[in-house]
Amino acid sequence: MNQYEHLIKYKKLEVINTAIQMNLKVGGVVAICAIFASALKALSGRQALLSMTLLLVANLKLSEKISFVLGFGGALYGYRQRRLRGTVIEMMSEHQRKLEQTPDPRRSSSEITPKGTTRPDDRSLE
């Protein structure tokens, strides 16, 4: 078996692997939607969509409301901190690159974005 046949075999395994991962990812969301839809079906005919939403919100206990607010607040706080960190990395990385290129002109780079995140064209490998 030559190297090209071997690479084709590797690519096939990679495709199968990606398909399994994608199925797990999408399958979970589909299952959740199906559960939600079945609950919605049980209420349909008796409740209008607006009253159903109100029913859902009104049925939330105080502790659940606090949990939702804290959850969303935490996620928002994390997102803003992440953006801030990206800005700081962007400011510092260029300076470091210049400093390192002085003794090593052939300095290699990881080629991630200046903010230290994955390149958009590399995301397809995820």
């Binding site: 939600f36 079945s38 609950a39 859902l56 996620a75 052939r106 990881s110 995140t117």
Partner: protein, 145 residues
């Protein structure tokens, strides 16, 4: 009962969204924060004059760290198995990374430099193993949800 189911499914949906968007981006960031200092230490070691910048061991280790920093989001247990199994089945078909690293180290005469490079390489390898394990655990937790 139906309202309870709806509430649970909304909570489940947001937990999954959290894992697949927030945590998905957090793990590579954490990995990069752990690998960048090792890469920086390697640079400083070479800058101190202990190791030439154009030596194959330096270039190889630097490339190795740059590659994992760039492609950390694609580093999964299944991919690790898939990418390593062909080289075990067809040993002559691809260049073995371990052999390549061994060849680069063979060019170094000083045992102190050799030990330091091996230590840096092993630290990076431990971080990679941790990343693969954590990602596997994340998928396991999701399947439990």
């Amino acid at each position: 009962m139906a309202v309870e189911i709806m509430k649970s499914s909304i909570a489940l949906f947001f937990s999954r969204a959290f894992v697949y968007s927030c945590y998905r981006d957090y793990r590579p960031d954490l990995f990069r924060v752990e690998v960048f200092p090792i890469s920086g230490e390697l640079f400083e070691y070479a800058a101190s004059g202990a190791l030439p910048f154009d030596s194959s061991a330096y270039r190889l280790l630097r490339k190795y760290m740059n590659d994992v920093i760039r492609y950390v989001h694609a580093l999964t247990f299944s991919r690790f198995i898939v990418s390593y199994s062909p080289s075990a089945v067809y040993p002559n078909s691809t260049k073995n990374a371990v052999e390549e690293w061994g060849e680069a180290l063979a060019e170094i005469e000083s045992s102190e430099v050799l030990n330091r490079l091996n230590a840096l390489h092993n630290r990076a390898a431990r971080v990679i193993a941790g990343q693969i394990f954590n990602r596997l655990m994340k998928n396991f937790h999701i399947s439990l949800i």
